[in-house]
Symmetry: C2
Subunit: 398 residues, 2 copies
């Protein structure tokens, strides 16, 4: 019979009844080669936003339990419409919600975690030849109240079902796969055929918004193969899978992310005050990145650089001004953070120096650099971004 396929369609993919009908048609085609299909759906289009507006008309601070009740109806609507559509085309189908599958969750309303799913009803319906449609994004807590899973919830529902059904998971969305770098910024960015979980997580943390980290982490934990592709299209997408299922010779660099959302701050500070400064910044929920410091040249004064989100600059300046020595503060708003991600870095030495060399050859100055096991991040002048990306892509043969 082959593997069970768990597909997930996001809100934009089911935004209209027309789109739902198109999905139904493609599911019927797909069923010919994959007879066991489970479909997880999100709420139609802007339904979730509409519900939030409705709740805000009632109160600015809606009760979280009741907000989850409201939210959960969005997926019930799209699930019933898709099942209806399939049945109207002569394909047996059935929709199930969180109650019917006993999707147990824990945590708090609005950001619950899936503990378990009873898939016996799904298995029975699949055996009866039905396409099973499941409401994404929702579950139940231990007293039977409706919960929702928060950001990336429906993706997580789909991966969790694939885990329990020992199936494969296909995430259909409004982008046609994972790219080496953001195709909206770099027109000739190449799409990846496959990417390893860890690399995808690193790219997600750098702002690749195709999938939320939690669903990738869950897939990694249970080694569930994920496919990310454009809904209702034959364009080939990207597989997210484990190392042992990937091509033997992996690339050194799989992905490249750029961000123009930060500023670099460089200050002179008394070495003893540095912990105070970092704590004060953290207390304001400002996330610091790319921290680097030079050793004290004389006395206890040191020079420290770090980046913060542009939107936090005013608040950060206020804090920093209390610690800076002799007004020595340099704020650089024209930086771009360039991050290279690749599992290959683990066992390929000298990647950082190779990157340095490429940038130098292209006359690009590296302002800051930080590295982790599978990532190198450089802050460069924003105007050099395109030259840097092209140089790296060329030299690493991507």
């Amino acid at each position: 019979m082959g593997d069970i396929i768990v597909q997930k369609y996001g809100g934009s993919s089911v935004a209209t009844t027309e789109k739902i009908i198109t999905i139904a048609k493609r599911l019927i085609e797909r069923k010919k080669t994959n007879p066991k299909i489970v479909v997880v759906v999100s709420a139609m289009g802007d339904t979730t936003d509409d519900y939030i507006s409705l709740a805000k008309e009632i109160t600015d601070t809606p009760d979280k339990r009741e907000l989850d009740v409201l939210m959960s109806t969005g997926e019930m609507i799209s699930a019933s419409l898709l099942a209806m559509s399939l049945k109207s085309m002569g394909c047996d189908a059935i929709s199930y919600n969180a109650y019917q599958l006993d999707i147990q969750t824990s945590g708090t309303h609005g950001k619950s975690l899936i503990d378990d799913i009873d898939v016996s009803k799904i298995e029975k319906s699949l055996d009866e030849g039905k396409i099973v449609v499941v409401t994404g994004f929702q579950g139940l807590d231990d007293i039977g109240d409706i919960t929702t899973l928060g950001r990336g919830g429906s993706d997580t529902s789909a991966v969790a079902l694939a885990v329990k059904l020992n199936g494969k998971c296909e995430i259909y969305t409004d982008v046609d796969g994972i790219y080496f770098t953001d195709p909206r910024k770099f027109k000739d960015a190449k799409k990846l055929e496959e990417i390893e979980y860890e690399e995808m997580l690193e790219l997600a943390s750098l702002g690749a918004q195709v999938m939320h980290s939690r669903s990738i982490e869950l897939a990694q934990k249970y080694q569930i193969e994920l496919y990310v592709g454009l809904s209702c299209s034959d364009i080939k997408g990207t597989y997210i899978r484990g190392m042992k299922n990937m091509k033997l010779e992996d690339k050194v660099i799989t992905g490249l992310a750029t961000s123009d959302d930060d500023v670099a701050i460089t200050i002179d500070i008394d070495e003893e005050k540095i912990v105070d400064l970092f704590e004060s910044i953290a207390n304001e929920n400002i996330s610091m990145d790319m921290i680097s410091q030079t050793a004290p040249i004389n006395s206890s004064n040191i020079t420290v650089s770090f980046t913060i989100p542009k939107e936090d600059l005013v608040k950060a300046k206020e804090i920093v001004s209390k610690y800076v020595l002799k007004n020595k503060i340099i704020i650089d708003e024209n930086i771009t953070k360039l991050s290279l991600v690749g599992l290959g870095m683990k066992h390929t030495s000298g990647v950082a120096s190779k990157v340095f060399n490429i940038l130098r050859k292209n006359g690009i100055k590296v302002k800051l650099i930080t590295t982790s096991e599978i990532r190198i991040t450089c802050a460069i002048n924003s105007k050099d971004t395109h030259a840097a990306v092209q140089g790296i892509a060329r030299e690493f043969n991507i």
Copy 2:
């Protein structure tokens, strides 16, 4: 602690968040005198119609199971918003749906009947001082699928809850009570303070659309007192209750209904063919009423009169023409059916002759008359309707 009050608000009463907020405010006031309140809500305004349109975009014949899933979300939305509103005003509240209360139903999707409700969660929440909001119109079948109750469903949910909680039931809607006769047709119609179940059922069968028969029947079966009134208003409505709870001396006539929707047909027919005729008409789903026949004067020919809905006239004429003798057919399109309802008729003799007399004194000719235990129906000329209603109201002192 006093009785548990089960209130029900119809779709027009919860059509906007503004209206929901108003209901919440009034509930908080009411809780001061009646601490145990359960509120059953319908879907907001036109939600149900909107859902039907959505389903029709998918297919003209939506699967009934999936349509019920879709429909059931309407009440979840309004229930969550009302609970949210109460909580935002500092009044503890909680919403429950069909799953959480295990509202067991039987029958078919779209018109299920309530078998049982597990009210333990409601009782616990009431004991905790919460206002309990329940989704009307929905239940579960024996395999855990969502069902809906069909026309009058939310009223029936409310009465069923009142039965299980041994409480009183208040139905809030867009009319301010039950009137002696239709106030849209007769401006000075008097509102009734109370009406007996049987009388209300008779009026409902005559087209009084305030409440659906099934909820009245359920209330009658378990002797649950119903109150019907305008939502969010201090105008006094009408109680529907059992005889033993009513004033000792009941009125002879409680209600009067008029209908201009029928035509009277009078034909000469062979006595032996009459059963054939009635069967032919019934086979076309045309409902005949007020059948009366005169004894045969000579041979086997008789004269028969009956009424049918105007909309069925063309079809009925076709059928009748096959049976009529010598083309003797009279069609009277200018009739009004005037029905008087009252339990008092049971033990007050001569009501029919009194009605006859009143009409005769006012120069009104009775074309047809039929009587049942608690109802008298006359067909009169439509132009006489106002005079007849006024004469009867005056003579019966209403």
